[in-house]
Symmetry: C2
Subunit: 123 residues, 2 copies
């Protein structure tokens, strides 16, 4: 962490949506996880992401498309059919994501315990 990475995390020029660890809004990691096994349609993504509104899902997908992590393909017609899939770049993010997921899976109880203890002391 000492040597400055390009983009330097501490540099103002590092746009926040490219900043390490924060990949945009809260649905982004979930969307990427959903696309791991192949292309999915808009409505297929809404199933596992039960609490997502179409607005929020659109926003996440647009951001991922804009940054080259997801490719959107639509065959026009009625009804419309649109598919989303990971690009190679998007796929390359699966590994670091899994590392973080593994860490979270190992340590989330500790964090919840710490939180409870902290909140107890406040009253």
């Amino acid at each position: 962490m000492r040597e400055p990475l390009p983009p330097d995390m501490f540099d103002e020029l590092c746009p926040s949506d490219l900043a390490p660890i924060r990949f945009g809004d809260k649905w982004v990691p979930l969307v990427i996880a959903c696309l791991e096994d192949g292309p999915r349609r808009f409505s297929e993504l809404r199933v596992p992401l039960r609490r997502v509104t179409p607005k929020a899902l659109t926003k996440s997908l647009r951001g991922l498309e804009r940054h080259g992590l997801v490719r959107r393909t639509s065959q026009p017609g009625t009804p419309p059919r649109v598919e989303y899939e990971l690009t190679p770049l998007g796929r390359s993010m699966l590994e670091p994501m899994k590392v973080v997921c593994a860490w979270a899976g190992e340590h989330w109880e500790e964090m919840l315990d710490a939180r409870e203890a902290y909140d107890q002391k406040l009253r």
Copy 2:
């Protein structure tokens, strides 16, 4: 990503501030990076994080303390002296963080290029 991790990323019970990859607000990874080499005082943290306001820094530090990633120690007196340092739990997050940083360091140009191309097409 197929096997559900505890906490299940897709489960509503997974609190968003514990969710993989999103560790709270945007300063959190930077704060952790700043604490890698040892304890730091409040004002010492403000130097590398040039754009952070005291309010935002306090909020990040409180969240990290609450979840057991950072320990806060203050010796009362005048002037007050407060130090922040990573706990073992916080320290355990350095490795996954570096994996993500390394990925970002390798791929940020691609993302910026993709963004420019995407934005060009819109006009």
